[in-house]
């Protein structure tokens, strides 16, 4: 097993992307770095720290790195804080985070929540690029559904 294999195996990755601390991590800005049209890096700027996501182009896997220092944007980075889906999360607290492996066993996805524990954004690496997906809750299960045996539930208070 080489270093790349280690990086891709679930037991060696920690879905807790932000080290625990008393104060919240608040999203201040989101920046991207494009290389030949691919989103090669994505920065979640948290003010006094930042999360850097990248792509391992040999495997289309996603990498993440927490830095406990301010992000100093260079020319290559462009702010996308005003774009969907980020604009509604700027100023909000970064919440829970998840890692996901594809069916082939490669870590290519990260989910992040803001002000809660429901995932709001999915980052997925494909074609040497970090693609961004917005996640939305569809609807709650209706009260007048079926029970666990598949039978229709009787309406309450008839």
């Amino acid at each position: 097993m080489n270093d790349n294999d280690l990086a891709r195996h679930p037991q060696n990755a920690d879905p807790l992307l932000l080290p625990p601390r008393e104060g919240p991590y608040v999203l201040r800005d989101v920046l991207e770095k494009s290389v030949y049209g691919f989103r090669a890096e994505l920065i979640l700027d948290l003010g006094d720290s930042f999360l850097r996501f990248g792509v391992d182009i040999d495997w289309d896997t996603i990498t993440s790195q927490f830095q406990a220092s301010r992000f100093r944007a260079k020319k290559a980075y462009r702010s996308i804080r005003a774009d969907k889906p980020w604009k509604k999360y700027v100023g909000k607290e970064c919440g829970w985070s998840w890692l996901a492996w594809n069916q082939q066993g490669y870590l290519d996805s990260v989910l992040i929540s803001f002000e809660g524990i429901e995932p709001n954004v999915l980052l997925n690496t494909i074609g040497s690029s970090i693609e961004i997906f917005a996640i939305s809750l569809v609807e709650k299960a209706s009260a007048a559904g079926t029970d666990r045996n598949g039978k229709r539930k009787a309406k309450a208070n008839r």
Binding site: Q104, G105, G127
Partner: protein, 83 residues
């Protein structure tokens, strides 16, 4: 074939296999028939041609490159390689 810099970036270390067909690359990297089928018509094209189409925006070509990159299964079920 001559590849653009973007196509090089799209392929990563697979760039050395650019002259082989996508199907050949998938099989050489431990993929199975199902992976080749998923690559669709790109399976019979060279990896280089597929990458060039991908950087021009063809999403099916991007998908084929990803299948080639992740051809070797790392899972444990269904006879996957856990090494």
């Amino acid at each position: 074939m001559k590849l653009s810099k973007a196509a090089w970036d799209l392929l990563g270390t697979l760039v050395d296999l650019a002259d082989q067909t996508v199907a050949e690359v998938i099989r050489a990297r431990g993929g199975v028939a199902a992976n080749v089928r998923e690559a669709g018509p790109w399976a019979n094209q060279s990896l280089g041609e597929t990458a060039m189409a991908g950087v021009q925006g063809d999403k099916t070509a991007i998908k084929a490159v990803k299948i080639a990159k992740d051809a070797r299964r790392l899972g444990r079920k269904y006879g996957g390689d856990a090494s």
